[in-house]
């Protein structure tokens, strides 16, 4: 049988890519150069687009092709480009020391991955959903882990821009979860989410720029005038 018609082969490729996505996410936790974090996000989004494309190919589901294409253009291309432009403009290249140091952060991310597996297996019954070729069903745990690690990054990092990246990786986790659970959201919702992500990054980008102008720093921990 030809490889390109063999669903088991597709499944293996998807699992491999999902594992890579997770590894990249953990690598981003230990990363201190902001540009590298942005590039990690870009590669991650590229892999997600590929996963979506493979699922679309094996299931002949046209609406997933659209989602894959948009992920490729917006999340792997446009957003990293915009964010790198912003880094150039505000001339901040490195994250300051995070609250928790890198080795411990990576350890915590590992634990969060385990939590992701436990959560995913607690309510997820792939045998019931196997109507079509049950592709990509083991990626839910990775998706939940991405989501949790994204949360952790946002708590741990203090630069405004890295928090935006944390928010984006939350969104990537959701995208993967949507693909592995239900083969994506309905197309119109998917389009709406892409629109919101794009506008959201523009708005937050302007905000980061203004904060940088006003405070001469992007350190969110300096934002603490408003107190009771």
């Amino acid at each position: 049988m030809h490889l390109l018609q063999d669903a088991a082969f597709g499944d293996r490729i998807i699992t491999l890519m999902a594992a890579l996505v997770l590894v990249l996410q953990i690598a981003a936790v230990g990363q201190r150069w902001i540009v590298s974090s942005i590039r990690i996000f870009a590669v991650q989004s590229f892999l997600l687009a590929a996963i979506a494309g493979i699922i679309a190919y094996f299931n002949h589901a046209n609406h997933i092709y659209v989602a894959a294409f948009l992920t490729l253009v917006i999340k792997a291309g446009l957003l990293p480009w915009l964010l790198e432009g912003l880094v150039e403009k505000i001339r901040i290249r490195r994250e300051i020391e995070p609250l928790i140091n890198a080795p411990l952060s990576i350890l915590i991310s590992g634990c969060l991955t385990l939590v992701g597996y436990v959560v995913a297996s607690s309510f997820y019954h792939p045998e019931e959903t196997a109507g079509r070729a049950a592709l990509g069903h083991n990626t839910l745990a990775v998706a939940v882990a991405l989501f949790l690690i994204g949360f952790f990054t946002m708590l741990n990092r203090r630069k405004a821009l890295t928090q935006v990246l944390g928010l984006l990786s939350l969104e990537n986790g959701l995208f993967l979860a949507a693909i592995s659970l239900t083969y994506g959201m309905p197309l119109v919702v998917e389009l709406g989410i892409f629109f919101d992500v794009l506008v959201g990054v523009l708005v937050l980008g302007i905000l980061v720029f203004r904060i940088r102008e006003a405070f001469d720093s992007m350190d969110v921990s300096k934002l603490r005038k408003l107190r009771e």
């Binding site: 928010l167 959201m185 309905p186 919702v189 919101d196 905000l207 203004r210 005038k225 009771e228």
Partner: protein, 500 residues
């Protein structure tokens, strides 16, 4: 068809205000747009009362009594806020807020006003879309849209503190809403074996609600928790409320009033939709326990901050946290009485809350401070109208008779007792009394007292008009609720409890 117009009107008003540039024109564009919107909302109400539900574009847009109620309240709030905004920004301009600047750069008057008058219709557009979207995914997109449209309104004055507030608002809102999206996704997953996945109408409310009994139960449980955390963040329920005092005290008054009386309803509307699905799927207990817990927690958090508050703008935010707690608690008590109490409270709160903000705005613009300590009391001598209205609306908003919020809080209390939650209902009353006394002491100290010798502060017709108009509506609705409005609320409550 009216559904489409409800969306087109604010959507057209935004670029119109952006390109027409002249201040008087921008003001009028906003006023006319929101007046038309209110008329359309009234038409929608009539249609919904007659036909139960209205849909458009193969059910892409859909309105029943619940959505009509939210649209009606949103359009009302945006209309009164746009009337007040005219006077508010004219006074800002006169007192030179736009010229003296801040640490950053001089603010230019017209671009600043243009920012306000073109973003506000977009903001209103997304709030209306929240209520009219049939698809629960689009509902999420629209709620996220309200955040995106209002971030720049929060940082309108460009102070360092405004940037901080806007940042918190955007990031906490973004994280919260990502949880809500996860909840929406899980709802879709728990439903997809019943209704299939790849249709366009896969997440449509009108399809989901009929099949909710067969949804996958463990998934639905997790979904509701995520939805409660997500839309709860947007509604400012404790412990996700921390953005609220900052955003409410930094945004210009009309925008803050729209956040407090508009977005709050939209977030709760989203929560109610998922509550209906969850209680049909799992029975009412599961959701009830969570809602009661978060509702009482929000009220408990608001109490100490109101009692020792130094800043009256922040006090309004804690009042808003308190009120969203009350509504969530009412939903948790459930039953016909609890749900009716919640929707009555939503209605009365949306009518009362803007006036509280307007009075605070007048005081702040006159005294150039938002601290009780620097205000020194005796306000009624320089601003008799605002002072009187401020006292009245304080009594009204804390739920004292004869004002309408007393009626809704009493209904909620009865729901608590008839549901057998005696201890919780007593706790509810205790919190209400504490908040009432804290609020009244602060505002009475601000308004009453000997004359500090300030010049008279009420010169603007627009501000006087909006205050007198709104105050008379609040008094009126305390004694007489229009029959169609009450029927709309009753229909919406029946929808939630499944009585129809």
């Amino acid at each position: 068809m009216v559904l489409l117009w409800l969306l087109i009107v604010p959507l057209v008003a935004s670029p119109l205000a952006f390109f027409l540039r002249r201040r008087a024109v921008m003001e009028r564009v906003n006023l006319v747009a929101f007046a038309v919107l209110s008329c359309l909302a009234a038409i929608l109400t009539v249609q919904v009362l007659r036909r139960v539900s209205v849909s458009f574009w193969n059910g892409f847009f859909y309105a029943d009594a619940l959505s009509a109620l939210v649209v009606l309240l949103t359009s009302f709030v945006s209309l009164v806020c746009s009337i007040y905004a005219v006077g508010y920004f004219r006074q800002d301009e006169k007192s030179g807020v736009f010229q003296e600047k801040s640490e950053l750069q001089p603010l230019l008057v017209v671009p600043k006003l243009r920012e306000y008058y073109s973003l506000t219709p977009l903001f209103v557009f997304s709030m209306v879309l929240v209520a009219l979207a049939n698809n629960l995914g689009i509902l999420w997109v629209a709620i996220e849209g309200t955040t995106l449209a209002s971030v720049f309104l929060v940082m309108f004055y460009g102070r360092e503190t405004s940037l901080e507030a806007a940042w918190k608002y955007a990031i906490i809102g973004g994280v919260g809403l990502s949880m809500a999206l996860f909840g929406t996704l899980l709802t879709y997953y728990s439903a997809h074996r019943v209704i299939g996945t790849d249709t366009l109408s896969g997440l449509n409310w009108s399809v989901l609600v009929g099949n909710a009994v067969q949804f996958d139960k463990p998934t639905m449980r997790l979904a509701f928790i995520l939805i409660l955390l997500g839309y709860g963040t947007k509604a400012g329920i404790a412990p996700m409320h921390t953005w609220k005092p900052d955003a409410y005290s930094e945004a210009p008054i009309p925008a803050a009033a729209m956040l407090a009386a508009g977005v709050l309803n939209c977030a709760l509307y989203g929560l109610v939709r998922f509550y209906i699905l969850t209680s049909r799927c799992l029975g009412p207990e599961f959701a009830s326990h969570l809602l009661i817990l978060f509702g009482l927690l929000s009220m408990a958090v608001a109490v100490p901050f109101i009692l020792v508050q130094k800043n009256f703008r922040r006090m309004l935010a804690y009042s808003s946290i308190d009120h969203s707690g009350i509504m969530v608690l009412a939903l948790g008590f459930g039953g016909p009485l609890g749900v009716l109490g919640m929707l009555l409270h939503m209605t009365f709160h949306s009518i009362t809350k803007p006036l509280l903000f307007f009075c605070a705005g007048n005081v702040q613009q006159h005294l150039k401070t938002e601290l009780f300590r620097e205000a020194k009391g005796g306000l009624v001598h320089s601003m008799p109208l605002t002072g009187a209205a401020f006292l009245m609306v304080t009594v009204a908003v804390t739920g004292a008779p004869p004002f309408s919020l007393f009626l809704s809080e009493f209904t909620i209390l009865r729901a608590g007792f008839s549901g057998g939650h005696f201890a919780l209902a007593i706790l509810f009353v205790t919190f209400l009394v504490a908040i009432f006394s804290g609020f009244l002491i602060h505002i009475a100290n601000l308004v009453l007292g000997s004359d500090p010798g300030l010049p008279p502060g009420e010169t603007c017709r627009w501000k006087k008009f909006s205050i007198v108009g709104l105050a008379s509506m609040i008094i009126l609705i305390g004694f007489w609720i229009p029959a169609p409005l009450f029927r709309l609320i009753q229909d919406a409550a029946d929808l939630v409890t499944g009585a129809r």
